[in-house]
Symmetry: C2
Subunit: 336 residues, 2 copies
């Protein structure tokens, strides 16, 4: 498609340096996660583990841990908070799948399909409550404030998205508002809390918040773009899922804005659920290419990626910073 | 049915003394509730207000306020916490109605019927998140711990109830375990946090916890009994709702345990959804009467009511204590 991202070292950017950086810490977080999803009610760990143990990247707790490394924090208060962040994320996914009626996630049948919507709603509530118990145990009111605010913003973003569903004229600004709330707020909070437990000045909190927020937006935009490329194997979701669900994402918003009368009608039909065949999807790919909607979605992602990298420029160089920079490069390079 | 509850003063017990006791404080709580359910996403206050503004008794925040009065607490830190308690309760009701597929609550159509399940799930999540924001603002880690724990216990109880659904052989102990978690935990926490903000010793915290917990169980058991009486007007729900939904409640558990082979088959059929006509309900009422299942459900409720009253015996006499005692008497007398 367009130009490839090339690091000076010449290799493809990867998440591996960050995974390696936090590997030991992540064992602590995983222990907290496994410990705190237990319950005397067998359905709870069974259902929770279906999602938590399904090989997600643990991107958000990883960001807490990497941020703590960047700050040379050597305490242990962030492990429980990182687990709390993953619980918030998991609860959100469980409820999302109920709301969207999804049947596949990370290549597996969703919990709502296996155990039903009621169980997914209630186990989501349980994990959400447990996340607050974990936060309370960490003992930081500031971290609690950041994460409870992020939770409210996420829920608000979800409702915003729900009311925006199937509206082809959504517009880029409203869309960015939605993904800022739905995705970027938790990325931002995950990074920011590292500065809180490390007792760093507000400027460093804000810098890590900006890193996480911009990375979160970049991640989401690339996810949106991947749905309109045929090579979607890397993501664990199938190309065309968003299209078939009539989801409003940035490629659609741009293609609609730039399209002819006839093309706009096609997008309207698609978003309102009247176009979901393979031929329709092939036509959609053609349109997002000819209007450069995917290329420009990636360009937007790069813009936010660049801002993420610049946000952590003031911190000392080292393996943590390198890993955090490469994580951004990985995020925006995934589509190619 | 059985003997009436008579106070020395001779009048029917009422919630009015408690309502009167906390009227001024409740204005503060209501202001916090209205303020914090606002959002730029119009669906959120619209849906939240449908339930919050629908004339519920605000029983749980009222208990926080009454407990604070009992302790002569004259600060204002409990207003936000009382609002948080109501938000947790409201979020739970929204999700409950989705889980049960209910269409009526407090005599109105439920939010899930009007706005759909997705909106109810997400606005519930929003209120739940907001409740934690309110708690963080109150600034008490101890209160946060109590309420986050209560939330997790409630969610666990909901899942427990879900896995127990339509099991006619549930048993009294497991049922008490469920209502302890689903209902009594939040009553207990609502009372206990008053002692926390008033900075009282652990023994007073425990006493208020016991008052709330036993009152909560008594309330629930009387609710269960009311469903099998014809005079259900006082509750805002119709007699027979539980029966028609095949809900396992104490009257059913007792009637099943005491029934003949034939009667047990009837209850099994009812709980499994094969008996929900008016004639079936009439027969059910006959059975809970002849087996004294309703009378003994009320007797159990009285037992817990008595324990609630005894729990606050050590506190100084006065209007607050009188109101709290009469609230218990009201709870167990509602059925007559």
């Amino acid at each position: 498609m367009s130009a490839t991202v090339q690091r000076l070292s010449g290799h493809q950017p990867s998440l591996d340096p960050m995974i390696h950086l936090v590997a030991d810490d992540m064992n602590q977080v995983n222990a907290a996660i496994v410990d705190r999803m237990q319950s005397d009610i067998p359905l709870i760990p069974e259902l929770a583990n279906h999602l938590i143990g399904s090989g997600g990247k643990r991107m958000r707790p990883m960001l807490t841990l990497a941020s703590a490394r960047l700050l040379n924090y050597d305490g242990g208060r962030h492990y429980g908070l990182a687990a709390a962040v993953e619980f918030i994320h998991t609860a959100t996914l469980l409820h999302d799948d109920v709301v969207d009626g999804s049947d596949l996630r990370r290549g597996k049948r969703t919990a709502n399909i296996i155990w039903g919507n009621p169980a997914s709603v209630l186990v989501g509530d349980f994990l959400f409550s447990r996340s607050f118990e974990l936060m309370v145990e960490a003992g930081s009111l500031s971290a609690l404030k950041i994460l409870s605010n992020a939770s409210a913003v996420i829920a608000e973003g979800e409702v915003n998205q729900l009311t925006a569903a199937r509206r082809v004229d959504l517009g880029e600004d409203r869309y960015l508002e939605i993904i800022n709330a739905k995705t970027a707020a938790l990325f931002a909070a995950a990074c920011r809390i590292a500065a809180v437990v490390a007792d760093r000045p507000e400027s460093e909190e804000a810098a890590l918040d900006a890193y996480g927020r911009n990375l979160g937006i970049a991640f989401q935009l690339v996810d949106d773009a991947i749905d309109y490329t045929s090579d979607a194997g890397t993501m664990g979701k199938d190309a065309g899922d968003d299209f078939r669900e009539g989801k409003m994402t940035l490629p659609v918003i741009l293609a609609y804005a730039r399209g002819s009368e006839e093309q706009r009608q096609f997008w309207k039909d698609a978003v309102e659920g009247r176009r979901d065949s393979d031929a329709d999807f092939a036509h959609a790919i053609e349109l997002v290419r000819s209007t450069r909607a995917v290329d420009d979605t990636i360009a937007r992602a790069r813009h936010y990626g660049q801002r993420a990298i610049e946000a952590i420029a003031p911190f000392a160089d080292g393996t943590a910073k390198d890993a955090m920079i490469e994580a951004v490069e990985f995020a925006v390079a995934r589509v190619y």
